[in-house]
Symmetry: C2
């Protein structure tokens, strides 16, 4: 992993446009349809629309569905799409061909994988996760507890955090699976995947990584880290579209023994033999469940074309330059209002997003005022403003403009206007 | 349920076009983009493309995703789509508003529901289904067995069929859940939903209906039948597009007690509070799992517009007229080749599809020859040719033409040509 070049000490907007001019990824912005006048810093929640997507989906609708009809299951390769697109995601996460397959939602995929993982250590009765994990991961682990637990042998869910108990505190001979999200959804803190995996393996447990905020954001090397299972989402940094399908990764060495939670016909060894008994397909294919939602799959397919040419080290360099620039500008310009950077300043511990506490202001109201002025981030209860920096389409000038608008909102106190007051929440 | 008017005894193509001229649903064909020269009799596998779908999906991509970006979760109502569209499916299946919600695939939804159902009778240890059920239902029940079973209290899966043991044979105090598909995917045989539900309830068990081949094909009255749970698919007779989302129905009386298999954040009572503990949402919403695949949802939304105006009794009348016409023509014209109608001739026991055995010919090869000549049905191993009759866009002349082509293929023995020989399978 390369180190980002330092941001110059005296920064003005001209510095930012100069950085853009020198940015080898700057041209990728033209691959996206971003609305005029918007600084989009929420690609960590929903990625922007690639220019090629609409036409591709339209072709799938008109030609593959409308004209090909049922024949497209074979002729257009519909049946193997989840495997084919899995193979295209593989290089982005340090996986091999045949190790990745599309799922439904990340929640469903985590369930599918966590059950399989826990079954590899049936004698152990503790599942570990992190209190600050994205909540659905914790909810799904409740399902796993309920379904794999028995009255005589209950399964326990133990949550760790920095205040303790920590991961080191709870790891022991009773731990079956550890489920952690590589880059935290709120703080942007990134785990050392190899080191944590080593620690979990030293305790004899299975490591499941949630890559929702990593894939397409930072280089990931699952096989290099020796991890066991992973799941992730494609609608954030991969720009697959709203609710585009999740993916599942199963290390090759576990594939033969792994029994997925839900044994569906698309995971069957011979789905068109219509046998009465389930027989798992070889490899990761057995983690498929039912018929894939092919229009959402089509949008993902178009978005993956962009990734053929992306150098992940360049991507990471730019990501760190953007977040470092943002942190630096926040420090230098927003101190008067007590704005606090929550995300780690150490670059190796940071994903591609930065979270702020709004200090004297109400972060929710500040975010609404930002969005109204075209700077789109989001708010996560109870008090975090999140800003995602998608290196493919966010520019250094965007970072400058976002902080300038933020400063204006704080200095004018426009955020106090009643129309910005909390009423709902943005996903 | 109304009785179909008899098909005239002496049928020729003019009779069929006259029936089309008198058909009150004939105009609905114009709502679909069917390719020229195709007789599409596979809407029971993948429904045809509604004319309005492409533009609607395009608008969702360009405006809601491209321009609205993350704001569309609130502004475009993305978050509640699975509930809103559930409410629009409800009238088609005799359900009330608030009883239906979209899922991922039907396999995933059956798992979600079958676990909940079995938990309502935890002391009982037998799950019942039908040997001839669509295989994924049987595979999913293996998952339920594995996950709800315990070494000391295993769960048994018992399969019934007409040869025995029959449903009546196995129903007893040990049966927790019965899972049956209302209209059989191969034979088109339809159960008497009210009668079977009554029988299952008399044994104290829970009734789960799979409506994949019923919804949009025949009138369904879940509440009238007093059923407990149901799932179904939207890409067949509802024309939602390839892999469009499944749906889940939970009778209002069970909603408070039902605990879904997978407890995901979209089923949480307060998903944006980001609590560490799962708390089920009120009502059927708790059966939601993760982020819905919104482009596939959008296509479904467009297809549901068509159903606002459809009179289900008229639909059933036409469906029976089409299948009766097909059966009658097969009987009168294809007897020389030993072609056999597998689907029940009694209209009350028939869905909207007809299955044939090809007699002296190889059904697989015959179907390939049919498809090559623009008559699209499908083949189901080991020996069935399936023909689906979607009343919204199949005409009586289509039925005539299909049988005429079939007769030609059999009489010329063109099906014996090597290019039609079995190599793969069509979904």
């Amino acid at each position: 992993m390369s180190i980002a070049p330092s941001v110059p000490h005296v920064i003005d907007r001209a510095t930012c446009t100069a950085l853009d001019a020198a940015d080898p990824l700057a041209g990728h912005r033209d691959l996206f349809d971003l609305p005029e006048g918007v600084v989009y810093l929420d690609g960590n929640s929903l990625g922007a629309l690639p220019r090629a997507t609409a036409a591709h989906v339209q072709r799938v609708i008109a030609e593959e569905w409308g004209t090909g009809l049922i024949r497209s299951w074979n002729d257009a390769g519909w049946f193997t799409k989840p495997v084919d697109l899995g193979d295209r995601i593989a290089p982005l996460i340090g996986a091999s061909a045949g190790e990745v397959v599309l799922g439904d939602s990340t929640s469903a995929s985590l369930f599918q994988v966590a059950v399989a993982a826990a079954r590899l250590r049936p004698e152990r009765r503790v599942i570990v996760s992190e209190r600050g994990n994205f909540p659905t991961d914790l909810y799904v682990l409740e399902s796993v507890q309920e379904l794999l637990g028995e009255p005589a042998r209950p399964l326990e869910r133990r949550l760790v955090d920095d205040e303790g108990p920590t991961l080191a505190d709870v790891l022991g001979e009773d731990v079956t699976v550890v489920v952690l999200t590589h880059v935290n959804y709120r703080t942007g803190r990134m785990y050392d995947m190899a080191e944590v995996t080593r620690q979990v393996h030293a305790a004899g447990a299975i490591m499941v990584w949630d890559l929702c905020h990593s894939v397409g954001a930072v280089p990931v090397d699952l096989n290099g880290a020796g991890a066991d299972f992973a799941i992730g989402c494609t609608y954030k940094y991969l720009n697959g579209g709203p609710g585009s399908p999740s993916f599942v990764w199963v290390a090759e060495r576990h594939q033969a023994a792994a029994r997925p939670a839900i044994t569906g016909w698309h995971g069957h060894a011979k789905p068109f033999d219509f046998d009465v008994e389930y027989a798992p397909a070889p490899g990761v294919t057995r983690f498929r469940v039912g018929t894939p939602q092919l229009l959402s799959v089509a949008a993902l397919e178009a978005s993956l074309d962009i990734w053929r040419d992306v150098d992940m080290d360049l991507l990471r360099e730019k990501s760190l330059r953007l977040t470092e620039l943002f942190i630096s500008l926040v420090d230098s310009r927003l101190a008067p209002w007590g704005v606090e950077v929550v995300t780690p300043r150490q670059s190796a511990r940071r994903g591609s997003q930065v979270a702020l506490r709004a200090g004297v202001a109400d972060g929710y109201a500040v975010m609404q005022a930002l969005i109204e002025r075209g700077v789109i981030g989001d708010f996560r209860a109870p008090d975090l403003m999140r800003f995602g920096f998608t290196p493919l389409y966010v520019s250094h000038a965007d970072v400058w403009d976002a902080v300038a608008v933020l400063e204006d909102i704080l200095s004018t106190e426009v955020w106090r206007e009643p129309r910005y007051a909390r009423r709902g929440a943005v996903t």
